[in-house]
C-alpha cells in the first residue's frame, strides 16, 4: 500500500475518532492541536479527550499545571486558528527548568515532548503570537471575496488550544 494514502486514511480515522461523534465540543484551536497530534497517534500515543483552551492576548504567555508520571512519555500539542497567528509550547518542571526533549512549531500548531524524570506537577507554557496590529487579514488570507466590514478583523485576542498524549 502506498504509504501516503495509508497515512492520510489513518489520520482521517483518528481525527474522526478524536474530533467526531465522541467529542462534540471540539473548537477550532483544539482541532488544530489535534491535527498536530495525528502522526503521533500512529506511533502509539494515546491522546486524551480532555484539554485546555481559551482566548489570550497575542504574546502573553500562558502557564498550565499538569501531573506527569515518570515512566510515561508525553507530547503536548498546541494550536490556534487565527490566520497568520503562530503558537509555541514548552515544558518545565516544578522549579522552572526546561524539560522538553524535542519540539516543533509550524504556524498554527506546535508541539513539545518530555520524558519526566520524576512523577510530579509540571508546567506547560503556551505562547500564541500575532504580529499584525489591527490590519485584519491579508488578501491571501481573505481569499477571493472581501469580507463585509468588521468581519475577519483582528479582535485583539487569539484562540488557543492544548491537548496531550502519552505512551
Amino acid at each position: 500500500m502506498n504509504p501516503r494514502p495509508r497515512t492520510a486514511a489513518i489520520a482521517c480515522a483518528v481525527l474522526l475518532a478524536l474530533g467526531g461523534v465522541a467529542y462534540a465540543f471540539v473548537n477550532e484551536a483544539i482541532s488544530m492541536a489535534l491535527e498536530a497530534a495525528t502522526p503521533y497517534v500512529e506511533q502509539g500515543f494515546e491522546v486524551r479527550e480532555d484539554n485546555w483552551s481559551g482566548e489570550v492576548e497575542p504574546g502573553k504567555p500562558l502557564l498550565i499545571r499538569h501531573q506527569l508520571f515518570r515512566g510515561n512519555e508525553y507530547w503536548f500539542w498546541a494550536g490556534t486558528s487565527w490566520p497568520g497567528a503562530t503558537v509555541k509550547v514548552d515544558i518545565f518542571d516544578n522549579e522552572g527548568n526546561s524539560v522538553g526533549l524535542e519540539s516543533f512549531a509550524k504556524g498554527s500548531f506546535a508541539g513539545a515532548r518530555a520524558l519526566p524524570q520524576k512523577t510530579a506537577t509540571y508546567f506547560i507554557r503556551v505562547v500564541a503570537s500575532y504580529e499584525k496590529s489591527g490590519k485584519g487579514l491579508t488578501k491571501a488570507e481573505r481569499g477571493a471575496n472581501d469580507p463585509v466590514e468588521g468581519v475577519g478583523e483582528f479582535s485583539g485576542v487569539l484562540d488557543w488550544g492544548l491537548v496531550y498524549g502519552y505512551r
Binding site: 467526531g20 461523534v21 516544578n94
Partner: protein, 284 residues
C-alpha cells in the same frame, strides 16, 4: 446542540479537506524540519509574566496503569471489583462519583483484557447515565465500548472510556453542573488510586510508590470539595470524602518518598472513601 453540530461539522469539513489535500501528512516532516526556537532553560514560576490557567485536567487511571505495566506485570483481573448495583438513592453527587469510579473500573478491565467485564461495565455505565439523565449522550459511547471489547481493540476501548467520561463532564458543565463534573473526575481518581495502591502494597518498590506523588491533584480535589455549595456539600458521604482527601494529603504531602506503610494507608483510606458511594460498607 445545533451549535455543537455546526462546530463539529466545520471542524470535520476542514479536517477532511486537509487530509484530502495532503496537508496533514507533512506534519510529521514538519516536526523534523521546523524545530521550534529553543525554550528558555529556566523560567521564574514565582514571577511568571503571563496568565496561570485555572483548569486542571485530571489524568485518567490508564496513564498510571501504563507505568505500572512497565514496572511490573500486575494481575489486572484480580483488580477488577465491580460492585453489585447498589441502591443508595438518587443523590446526584453520589451518582457522579460512582460514574467516575465505574469508568475507572472499565480502565482496569481493559488492562486485564477482560472483554466480558468490559461489556458488563459498558452496560452499567449506560444504566447509570440514565439515572443522571444523560443517556442520549452516553449511549453511543457505551455501544462503542461493547463493540470494541468484542473486537479486542483495547486502545479503542480506552479512547471510548475517556470519551464517555469527557462527554458526561462536558454535558454536566453545559447544564451548569460544574460540581458534578468535578465529582466524576474525583470518583475515577479515587478508584484508580485504590487499585494502584493495592497492587503496590503487594509488591512494594520505591519506583512504583512514586506514582502516588500527586499532591497537586489532591489539593485540587480538596479545594473543589471545599467550594461545593448546596445540600450535597453537607451530606455525610461528601464530608467523609473531604476527610479522606485530607488524610491522603497528610501522607502524600509530607515527602516525595512514600514507604510501604504509607502505601498501605493510602490503600485503606481510598477504600474507605469508595465505601461511601461505590463499594458496599463492611458489616459492623
Amino acid at each position: 446542540m445545533v451549535e455543537m453540530s455546526q462546530t463539529l461539522s466545520a471542524a470535520l469539513r476542514r479536517l477532511v479537506v486537509a487530509v484530502s489535500l495532503g496537508v496533514i501528512v507533512p506534519v510529521a516532516v514538519v516536526a523534523q524540519d521546523a524545530e521550534a526556537p529553543a525554550a528558555p532553560e529556566r523560567i521564574d514560576l514565582t514571577n511568571f509574566p503571563g496568565e496561570l490557567v485555572d483548569k486542571v485536567v485530571v489524568p485518567i487511571p490508564a496513564e498510571i496503569f501504563a507505568v505500572l505495566d512497565k514496572l511490573d506485570e500486575p494481575d489486572w483481573n484480580s483488580g477488577i471489583q465491580l460492585p453489585t448495583a447498589n441502591d443508595r438513592g438518587g443523590e446526584r453527587s453520589l451518582l457522579a462519583l460512582t460514574f467516575g469510579s465505574l469508568v475507572a473500573e472499565g480502565f482496569i478491565a481493559v488492562q486485564a483484557k477482560n472483554a466480558e467485564e468490559i461489556e458488563t461495565i459498558g452496560k452499567r455505565v449506560l444504566d447509570l447515565s440514565e439515572s443522571l439523565g444523560l443517556a442520549p449522550s452516553v449511549r453511543p459511547h457505551s455501544l462503542a465500548i461493547i463493540e470494541a471489547s468484542k473486537n479486542r481493540d483495547w486502545a479503542k476501548v480506552r479512547d471510548e472510556l475517556d470519551a464517555t467520561q469527557q462527554t458526561v463532564r462536558t454535558t454536566m458543565e453545559k447544564l451548569r453542573d460544574t460540581e458534578l463534573s468535578g465529582l466524576v473526575s474525583l470518583g475515577g481518581w479515587v478508584r484508580g488510586t485504590n487499585v494502584v495502591t493495592s497492587f503496590i502494597s503487594g509488591s512494594y518498590s520505591e519506583d512504583k510508590a512514586e506514582l502516588l506523588n500527586q499532591p497537586g491533584l489532591i489539593a485540587h480535589f480538596r479545594e473543589m470539595i471545599s467550594t461545593m455549595r448546596g445540600p450535597a456539600a453537607s451530606t455525610p458521604a461528601i464530608r467523609a470524602i473531604a476527610t479522606g482527601l485530607a488524610r491522603l494529603e497528610a501522607i502524600i504531602g509530607e515527602s516525595g518518598n512514600l514507604a510501604e506503610e504509607d502505601i498501605n494507608q493510602l490503600r485503606d483510606i481510598s477504600r474507605a472513601m469508595l465505601e461511601e458511594f461505590y463499594f458496599a460498607k463492611p458489616a459492623p
